[in-house]
Symmetry: C2
Subunit: 415 residues, 2 copies
């Protein structure tokens, strides 16, 4: 099989995927290997010593939440003392936005790729502002996580099971006609999903007050769908892994210190480089000096042609992330066609006369053109416990792709 | 006051409006003058003898629904015999899509313009396909109207009152960033509205089964918001009526036979001309020969700069209505800037770098340029009882504007 054939097969598998939101279940059920005192995080592997501020903030918060520490200080010393085991979400079929905390008791959304039978997982989006994914860890943050675990997660699970599964491919197709790029703008898909879920939540509700709270919580969160899109991205890319001779990217992610990518033909190996600082717009009272470098598994959506790759569908997001004039949105999407295998005919952009989103990042094209994949991202405060301070655009470091290409060439017998 | 000053005042009033969805109440409460056996219809005044097929279909259906006739045949002979009184919705502060039936027992949505204190009314959208607004009148159609009267209307009224009022100006602003033009595409605003309504419906629900049915019904209807947008359009334009010396259009509507407009400086007078046939796309199994000429009060949304005037915000709708390439959407909006007083700074279009929608049709500019206002519209079957057969684009007849300009000139002392 030539490289072209192998890449064609990788992209074929991504495009052939049929992702369906099928359930919400505790992480311990979803991932039986997820043992006690194990903390999954966003990005490539990293130890406590190299973790950035918000990641440390989230780790200490989730340790308290799981009852593994008395308080944040206790959690920090336990973390430093080696009491917790850290692994990337990606090693367990999961993804998580920003800090990306995944632990045993959290409810995870389950996306099943019906075409290939694999499943992927992501926690439920906590809302905006001071939240754990941006490093928040105070009582308000932990109380919200408890409510998600006790009330929202089980309610969503009942509703989604009642639906028989919510097909995500047509939902994304629709969201692309409604200004979403599914990374920094999910207002359409969040709304469309709630339209489907609301009668199901009502039908399966066990408590009227809880129903109101669930509808209200989802309804107030324009980014609710992000975590669904991420689980979908993981479910779509996993079947494209481990194809000999393919140099298509199967994952991009960041832990706030390192950016990492995986490439189909080089298997589970991570190619990493120091993560870059997003260029963006800050919320009032914050500036670049407050910002942490880029983080999160959310770049899985760019890996499947959404996010910054689908910018042409979402002119309004260009201003939100400070990336230029709204009318220039299409230029971002066009530039990503230069480093991708081809368009996705199922996910098209009306303003580009229904051209498909550019899909399947080819590391050869990245290295040849010097065009780094672009990613729309939220910006966390560099200190633990603060939360989101802005949103922007970031480039994947070229070094990841250069290193991957060297290793890929070696696997192909090219020295 | 010069014409420019008068037009400036008319547009100022339209832009200063603050439309809020405040309630759903029976038409008999909303419009105390709406007497028994009176049927309000879309468009300018018309008698039974000149009514088109779908309008007759709706009239006979609503007469049976109200208990004024035994069956459709009985209703038709009573209508022909003068048993019913017909008036335009516009004469009673109301608007209605397509056939636009408004009678005493129907629940009406109430939009209050908080800046001016006036109220406007529109019935609740029935959904798609075979529905009364497209001339449907069988048992399925009437049963649905009964359910709307008995269940959905009161439930929506409770939810909206609980909200304290749902502000529509920011909702429209958001919808314009999500691909809606609020005439043939309302999927974003329908979804955003349901997000707000769902917890309120749950909180005020008196019956779990009814709650599920209401959430399901609204959730399945991408055009649910159209009727809200129409009541909003009426609420925004009414304060701009009757300004001496203003030649800004305050209403455009059609009854399937005549197109009619009202102009601020010429008061309540209608200027009419034969309505045109939409050019569009037909549902499978139907063609132009099935189509009825254009109808409905819905062109009130174009009167306030939405619908076809905001086409640039909704590239996906261009294909739906068969108006050309999606990438050409902005050309429609740009052409309408040539016949309007100015942009609406509160309702902007991201893809045009946040230019405001063109607002305030000036009849002088229409006549000078020969550019007729364009309208995005649904297409009804020409026979009673069938329903919607397509969607398209239609031009307002220039004759309405020419005649209005002659009369307007007379009011200004120009012979």
């Amino acid at each position: 099989m030539t490289i072209e054939q192998a890449n064609h097969e990788a992209v074929r598998r991504i495009l052939a995927g049929d992702p369906v939101l099928v359930d919400v279940i505790p992480a311990s059920d979803a991932i039986p290997d997820l043992s006690d005192r194990t903390i999954l995080h966003a990005g490539p592997p990293i130890g406590w010593d190299r973790m950035c501020g918000p990641l440390r903030g989230a780790v200490t918060g989730i340790a308290v939440f799981e009852g593994w520490a008395e308080d944040l200080d206790d959690a920090a010393s336990k973390a430093a003392g080696g009491s917790f085991t850290f692994h990337p979400n990606h090693h367990f079929g999961a993804v998580g936005p920003m800090t990306g905390m995944t632990t045993r008791s959290q409810p995870l959304m389950v996306v099943e790729n019906k075409a290939f039978g694999n499943r992927a997982y992501c926690a439920i989006n906590e809302g905006l502002g001071k939240v754990m994914r941006f490093g928040g860890n105070d009582a308000e943050v932990l109380d919200r996580l408890s409510w998600i675990r006790e009330s929202l997660g089980p309610a969503l699970g009942r509703a989604i099971r009642e639906s028989g599964g919510i097909s995500l491919k047509p939902l994304i197709a629709r969201g692309l006609t409604m200004g979403d790029e599914m990374h920094q703008r999910n207002v359409a898909c969040s709304s469309l999903l709630l339209r489907q879920l609301a009668p199901l939540l009502a039908r399966t509700s066990k408590d009227a007050g809880e129903l109101v709270a669930c509808l209200d919580f989802i309804g107030r969160n324009d980014q609710f769908f992000l975590n669904v899109a991420m689980a979908m991205g993981k479910a779509l890319t996993d079947p494209a892994r481990d194809i000999d001779g393919s140099c298509v990217v199967t994952a991009m992610c960041r832990n706030g210190t390192d950016f990492g990518i995986r490439v189909s033909g080089t298997g589970d190996r991570w190619f990493t480089a120091p993560v870059e600082m997003p260029a963006g717009i800050y919320f009032p009272g914050f500036s670049e000096k407050d910002a942490n470098p880029d983080m999160g598994d959310s770049a899985i959506v760019e890996t499947i042609g959404l996010g910054a790759f689908a910018m042409a569908a979402a002119p309004a997001v260009v201003g939100y992330i400070g990336a230029g004039r709204a009318s220039e949105a299409a230029a971002f999407t066009r530039s990503m066609t230069e480093i991708t295998a081809g368009p996705n005919p199922a996910w098209v952009i009306p303003a580009m006369d229904f051209a498909g989103v550019p899909t399947g990042i080819d590391i050869r094209l990245v290295v040849e053109t010097g065009l780094a994949p672009i990613i729309n991202t939220g910006i966390a405060h560099r200190e633990p416990g603060v939360g989101q301070v802005g949103a922007g655009i970031v480039k994947a470091p070229l070094k990841c792709f250069q290193d991957a290409l060297v290793t890929f060439a070696e696997t192909m017998g090219v020295e």
